[in-house]
């Protein structure tokens, strides 16, 4: 009999079915309820924006993979997430070339200029959006509701104050309800807290994301806005907080890798978002908070590296 050949490699020889492409697929699925609701609310043009941003992201990724001679179906998958997310955080009125530029910037600059997968520091979708806000401020602040130009709840709050914002809805309860169900002006996929919550819980349930990050982030905003005498429910429902907390703050590449580091990261996000909203010039602070904390993540990570099992005991003994 011919000698058999056996594979010799390092243990373990046994793995969970936890693959990256699967994770990416789950994130896309989790985003769908909010995306579909956005298209339902804002019409076909919203769908076109999402399609453009997603396809440009895929094409840009393909181009860079070719350039680096590293063809990878998996990275195409993560480009889908980036493109879809970007589309969902844009106003539904944009001319279609705007999301195209945003997606290109997201993948080409935020991802590949930083060295590609594994090296990305800033959330690519948010970089894309920030670039658009800086380049086309007017277009990026033009929101609609039911086809009519309208301000987002946070814009109303910033411009006219709480009383007038709430009276716009009728009462504060009605305001909460509209915001929860997504019946407000805003970016395509960020308006309905309910749809985002469903997607977020789905990811938490499947252990794709850690429940602590969105909980601490949203919780911090809630507590801080309450302390500053604002309506905390209005604040957590009325903007991009849910999509940011569940889908962008939790992006693996922008946050510290350590367990405790991630908690500080989420706390920092909550504080920054509140500060920008209450004291800054912008009505919304989620986008920039996440980018700022992305920048701080490597430092937080370094400061929170834990001593392994068995070291603390040593110290105690020496005392």
């Amino acid at each position: 009999m011919e000698a058999r050949k056996f594979i010799v490699e390092s243990s373990p020889h046994f793995f969970s079915a936890n693959y990256k492409y699967k994770l990416m697929g789950l994130v896309v699925i989790a985003l769908l309820p909010a995306a579909i609701l956005g298209v339902y609310n804002f019409g076909v043009h919203a769908l076109l924006i999402i399609i453009v941003s997603t396809s440009v992201a895929i094409l840009t990724e393909a181009f860079f993979n070719k350039l680096k001679k590293k063809p990878s179906a998996v990275e195409q998958g993560s480009a889908v997430v980036t493109g879809l997310l970007l589309g969902m955080i844009l106003p539904p009125t944009l001319p279609l070339w705007v999301p195209a530029i945003g997606s290109f910037v997201a993948i080409a600059i935020a991802k590949h200029a930083f060295g590609g997968a594994g090296m990305t520091i800033f959330n690519p979708a948010l970089v894309g959006r920030a670039f658009l806000v800086a380049s086309f401020p007017a277009l990026m602040a033009a929101y609609i509701l039911d086809g009519i130009t309208s301000a987002t709840p946070l814009q109303m709050l910033k411009l006219n104050g709480y009383q007038s914002a709430v009276s716009h809805f009728g009462s504060n309860m009605l305001a909460y309800k509209s915001m929860f169900l997504g019946n407000i002006a805003g970016s395509i996929g960020e308006t309905s807290a309910l749809a985002l919550l469903i997607g977020g819980l789905f990811l938490i349930f499947l252990k794709v994301i850690d429940w602590k990050i969105p909980t601490i982030y949203i919780g911090t905003v809630f507590v801080l806005t309450a302390i500053f005498g604002q309506d905390p429910i209005y604040h957590i429902l009325g903007g991009g907080l849910f999509i940011g907390a569940f889908f962008m703050a939790t992006a693996y590449e922008g946050m510290p890798i350590t367990k405790s580091g991630r908690i500080y990261f989420a706390l920092g996000l909550g504080i920054l978002t509140t500060v920008i909203r209450l004291f800054g010039g912008y009505p919304e602070g989620v986008n920039f908070s996440i980018l700022i904390m992305n920048a701080a993540a490597p430092l937080i990570e370094r400061l929170t590296i834990k001593k392994p099992f068995g070291y603390i005991k040593n110290k105690e003994k020496k005392k």
């Binding site: 058999r4 390092s10 046994f14 392994p308």
Partner: protein
């Protein structure tokens, strides 16, 4: 009762209900003279010598070592360098051809109740007892803690957290009395009061029978949360006593000694029956037609054992000595089993992770969450890959005990343990070099 981190792999204990069977007498055995951690043995037989089953064929004067005994009767046909099954490096090996008579050395029952600890220890050494959990550390060494390290706790490791393997489980059920007798001997040698048997709570039957039979003997049976690697020495001690073995240290530093189930039974056999360690129970499992628990002679050839388990099911791709989490993939099936072999897990194409790829780390943090030593496997592996061994050492690479939890759940399937192992071996090399210079 548990520890931090860890994973929940599919346990696949397909042989849990299969009674231990006796394997056929091997026609030929190969005994590598380096069976365990510690100094290799020197042969004390010559080519052409007739040996009996249980006869000592190799020994050394070094303290951290255990003699080796023939597992069959027959003639020494050769003493030559053959590849070691695990390391693959050539080691001096004794080959014995069987006369198929299985003529045993005289094994007398011994009245051991009144023997002093030192004598018990020298019996344990003389009969070649080593830890049967995998590392095959000579048992008498573990039972000889230095004066300044008093031992107050003996833990018997019945966790058997490694997927697929069921030898300890079967031994607890089928050899309960011998096991308890063995535990009592070890307890006497160590002179300790508290004895715990830690068993993962998926083995109810073993917990039940041991609880019943240890009543009034001052032995506590502790059901443990079923989680891998519950049976790692450090995790097991922590789960039961909440003591932490200091980094770089040994269980004896915190007053603990851990012994495996099979080892305790081997101790009993050596002390009470004068039986040297020449056979042990292994699980043959995975893709074989008739997976089972077999009592096999040391040095038996893997291929023959697999035939006795109904032979390969489909085309085998991987032979793992041990279980799938910490076992070693072997390059061939004509190698012998050794004292530390707890099982043979056969994998074919369907079990091989072909998606193992070159995607970079996505920083998901799973490996950190799961590492029972609370290391940062992603970072250590990255440093090792880039030859920054110094940085890997700073990140505590040496504290990794290669349990494999990190790689198990890594979504990009980075061979984390491979890189960490590499880092560890380089660190050890560097340290040895530094010593030489001094």
């Amino acid at each position: 009762m548990t520890f931090k981190g860890g994973i929940h792999p599919k346990y696949n204990k397909i042989t849990a209900d299969k009674k231990i069977e006796k394997a056929n007498l091997p026609k030929k055995i190969i005994l590598p003279l380096s069976q365990h951690v510690g100094a290799p043995c020197e042969p004390i037989v010559n080519i052409g010598d007739y040996v009996k089953t249980g006869q000592k064929i190799a020994e050394t004067q070094a303290f951290v070592s255990a003699p080796i005994h023939s597992s069959i009767s027959g003639t020494v046909s050769s003493i030559e360098n053959l590849p070691h099954p695990i390391t693959g490096k050539p080691v001096n090996s004794v080959i014995i051809e069987s006369d198929e008579k299985d003529e045993k050395i005289e094994m007398q029952k011994r009245e051991y109740e009144n023997l002093p600890a030192d004598e018990l220890k020298s019996i344990i050494k003389d009969f070649g007892i080593v830890g049967l959990g995998g590392a095959a550390f000579p048992t008498h060494v573990k039972l000889s803690p230095p004066q300044e390290k008093p031992i107050d706790t003996l833990i018997i490791n019945g966790a058997e957290c490694e997927p697929f393997l069921t030898t300890d489980h079967r031994l607890m059920l089928e050899r309960t009395d011998d096991l308890i007798a063995g535990i009592r001997i070890i307890r006497k040698v160590l002179g300790v009061k508290s004895v715990f048997i830690g068993i993962e709570d998926n083995k109810h039957d073993a917990i039940k029978i041991l609880k019943e039979k240890t009543i009034g003997q001052n032995i506590k049976v502790i059901p443990l949360h079923t989680k891998y690697p519950q049976g790692g020495e450090k995790t097991l001690i922590y789960a039961i006593t909440k003591r932490k073995v200091p980094a770089g240290g040994l269980p004896m530093d915190i007053g603990c000694v851990v012994q495996n189930i099979g080892t305790a039974i081997a101790v009993y056999e050596a002390v009470a029956l004068s039986k040297p360690l020449y056979e042990r129970v292994i699980t043959i499992t995975g893709k074989v037609n008739n997976p089972k628990n077999l009592l096999v002679r040391n040095g038996a050839i893997i291929k023959d054992l697999i035939e006795q388990a109904g032979s390969y099911k489909g085309e085998p791709k991987k032979i793992i000595m041990g279980g799938p989490m910490m076992g070693f993939a072997l390059p061939a099936d004509d190698l012998p089993i050794i004292k530390g072999t707890s099982g043979l897990t056969i994998f074919n194409k369907d079990d091989i992770d072909e998606k193992r790829s070159t995607i970079e780390c996505i920083r998901c943090g799973k490996c950190i969450q799961d590492c029972p030593m609370q290391l940062n496997p992603s970072l250590i592996a990255k440093y090792a890959e880039n030859e920054r061994i110094d940085l890997a050492e700073n990140m505590y690479a040496m504290d990794c005990f290669e349990c494999g939890c990190c790689a198990f759940n890594c979504p990009t399937h980075i061979p984390l343990v491979h890189w960490i192992r590499y880092a560890k071996s380089q660190i050890l090399k560097n340290r040895a070099k530094a010593k030489d210079k001094k």
